[in-house]
């Protein structure tokens, strides 16, 4: 049985691609007939597996780690499709192995959804993990934010080498206290930038209300993001500071660059390669955002930015990172399973920054929930149309000659990209 699983899985992959079907089906097939396939294949990698997890920024951070390691001459296997479930990893593996099941790579860097990462690490203990943040997202799936933190803690506990933690997220930083054998490294943020990363705990504390009981002094971080410029960033590591150009936009993406640097340095430091900082920084400056994460397209000769928003902190960061001035703005809110059915999160985002220019168009299955939310923040609203293709066409027609920005939930973004692909060049994600 095991003998045939790879050729069979590859065949299913070809057929399902011809049909334009989902990326995880072949993974499901091979998982069913050969449950050891993934573990066996990944175990052959000389430098093991690195897992990237957390609520926000997994896709872009994973992309950065891959590009950083490739700049050091490493051959990296990754689950680029954004199918961040175990099944998606198996499907991605099938695409990369030869017909005899051999994987030609030095290391695997995998983006995994918190809940699925737990299953994955039970089967394949990673050598490295990078834990980004625990924010309120999809609580209807995971129940409570403290439970999500427990999932991440489990990933760290199963890691055999280095655990990289976000020093600025208390729920992530605290994981260090529970670890015994692993090496722990942090990535951190300059105090002056902390204010741009409100966490869910101080979300509602009024200005001037006393800070929660004294936090212990912060540990030293391997890489610290010191400053963010218009198209540059300043990082501190090894006792020095370097400024580098950045293609990534949004302070949260650039903070994740510090995370990616820390993981890449750990992997190189463990003997996978000799870290050459000039080429690392060059690679970092060239990283483009993953699709939908601050992606900029061109429509009618004007930029159209897609900003993915899926939880309160992500939405607030999006509003802060991409000022509204001069832009036509649309917000697209769906409540499909992948978006989260619960709309409460919209009430934990402040929309004051949109008050002056207003919002030109609202769409998605919960367009009217969004309209109601904006009404209570006294933000003027233009058109409200739940049908995404119709709303998008009108938004583009009426915003002619202006740069545009669309804040959208996950499935709304997929629908918008599908429509935009008919009129402009949209990167195809395999």
């Amino acid at each position: 049985m095991v003998f045939y699983s790879v050729p069979l899985g590859k065949l299913v992959r070809r057929v399902s691609r011809l049909r334009g079907g989902g990326s995880a089906l072949p993974g499901l097939v091979v998982e069913k007939i050969d449950p050891g396939f993934m573990r066996r294949t990944l175990a052959t990698l000389p430098h093991g597996v690195a897992v990237v997890s957390g609520t926000n920024g997994k896709t872009t951070t994973t992309k950065m780690v891959v590009e950083l390691l490739e700049s050091q001459g490493l051959r990296v296997f990754t689950n680029r499709t954004g199918s961040n479930f175990t099944r998606g990893v198996a499907a991605a593996l099938l695409g990369e192995v030869d017909w005899r099941g051999r994987l030609d790579a030095d290391i695997a860097v995998l983006e995994l959804d918190e809940a699925h990462a737990v299953h994955f690490v039970n089967s394949v203990p990673p050598k490295y993990c990078l834990l980004l943040n625990v924010l309120r997202d999809q609580l209807d799936r995971f129940g409570e934010i403290d439970k999500t933190a427990q999932l991440l803690q489990h990933i760290a506990a199963k890691t055999t080498g280095t655990v990289v933690l976000n020093r600025e997220d208390p729920r992530v930083a605290r994981i260090a206290d529970t670890l015994t054998g692993q090496e722990v490294k942090y990535f951190g943020l300059d105090d002056s930038l902390l204010g741009t990363f409100p966490n869910d705990d101080d979300m509602r504390a009024a200005p001037g209300s006393p800070a929660p009981a004294g936090l212990p002094e912060k540990p030293a971080a391997d890489v610290v993001l010191r400053k963010v410029g218009a198209d540059s960033a300043e990082f501190e590591y090894d006792g020095g500071t370097v400024t580098t150009a950045m293609k990534l936009r949004g302070v949260y993406n650039i903070f994740n660059a510090a995370a990616a640097m820390t993981l890449a340095r750990s992997i190189c430091g463990a003997g996978a390669a000799t870290a050459d900082h000039a080429t690392l920084l060059e690679a970092l400056s060239k990283v483009a955002p993953a699709f939908g994460r601050g992606e900029s397209l061109t429509v009618d000769g004007q930029p159209l930015d897609l900003v993915l928003v899926k939880n309160p902190s992500g939405f607030r960061l999006g509003l802060k990172s991409f000022p509204a001035g001069g832009y036509a703005t649309m917000i697209a809110i769906n409540d499909n399973y992948a978006d989260g059915r619960d709309m409460s999160w919209l009430w934990d985002v402040e929309f004051d920054s949109l008050r002056e220019g207003g919002v030109d168009a609202l769409t998605g299955s919960r367009a009217y929930d969004m309209a109601l939310r904006l009404q209570y923040d006294q933000v003027p609203v233009g058109a409200v149309e739940t049908d995404i293709p119709a709303a998008l066409a009108a938004f583009i027609r009426e915003g002619r000659g202006k740069p545009k920005r669309i804040f959208c939930t996950y499935t709304a973004m997929l629908a918008i990209r599908r429509e935009l692909a008919k009129i402009t060049t949209v990167e195809v994600v395999s």
């Binding site: 209807d140 509602r204 504390a205 059915r341 709309m343 109601l372 009404q375």
Partner: protein
């Protein structure tokens, strides 16, 4: 033009209504701010002056409270506020008996009851304003909810809780669930009503899509303070449409 216009300064206020958020720092997990914001805006749209205060653990308790609003929290949040809430039980009970309108959602609904007994048998005492008791379970009740009520019409929201609450004879249910689960998986009831307290598991947030409940709290507060309530005319066109669309969404 947008219906969300602030009242003009030229119109004299009909009086000030003081809204106190209970423990917003520790009990605010599911958009509870939305309820406070809706009260603040609608009080103004009805021509009164809103005053929004926060009460957190260890703060002096404000005087002259007209409306109390409290939300849900994680287990850790409930532990943090537990002692402080017990210390304020007398004041809150007095306000409740005196007819002060209150909205308590999820975690504070449970703690306004007699007790919460966890799955492991530990008993977290409530403050006993509501004749209800809650038992922790392994099952999490999650999803969109539609409730039929006699007082407020159809109430729409979203539930996410593992505690199951049963009502005693001292309270009546807020309504009967038409979609979703509500208080517990047995009796089809959702929420509780006692004097001018509205208690519910529904967030979403509750008040934006259920302006009838918001206006009940405001009217009751105005009548208790000024002897009468003269309503304004808030524009609820978006609320009506948001309700229509929300009611059609899957569980």
């Amino acid at each position: 033009m947008n219906p969300a216009e602030a009242p003009t300064a030229a119109v004299p206020s009909k009086g000030t209504l003081r809204v106190v958020q209970l423990y917003p720092r520790d009990m605010n997990i599911y958009g509870d701010w939305g309820n406070a914001l809706v009260l603040q805006r609608r009080i103004a749209w009805h021509g009164y002056t809103p005053e929004l205060l926060e009460y957190n653990v260890g703060d002096p308790f404000p005087d002259g409270v007209d409306i109390i609003v409290g939300g849900g929290g994680q287990d850790s949040g409930q532990l943090i506020i537990q002692d402080d809430l017990q210390a304020r039980a007398g004041q809150l009970k007095e306000l409740a008996e005196d007819g002060a309108p209150m909205l308590v959602i999820c975690g504070l609904y449970q703690l306004f009851g007699k007790f919460f007994k966890t799955r492991t048998g530990a008993v977290i005492p409530g403050i006993g304003i509501l004749d209800v008791e809650t038992h922790g379970t392994d099952e999490r009740l999650i999803g969109n909810v539609k409730v039929s009520t006699t007082e407020f019409g159809e109430v729409l929201g979203y539930e996410n809780h593992s505690g199951q609450t049963t009502l005693g004879s001292g309270v009546r249910p807020l309504g009967t669930v038409a979609k979703g689960t509500g208080n517990n998986s047995n009796d089809g009831h959702e929420g509780a009503r006692f004097r001018n307290i509205v208690a519910s598991y529904l967030h979403g947030s509750l008040l934006p899509k259920n302006p009838a409940i918001a206006d009940f709290l405001i009217r009751t507060a105005a009548e208790r303070k000024f002897g009468s309530f003269s309503p304004g005319a808030p524009d609820d066109a978006y609320a009506v449409l948001a309700r229509e669309h929300a009611a059609r969404r899957p569980r």
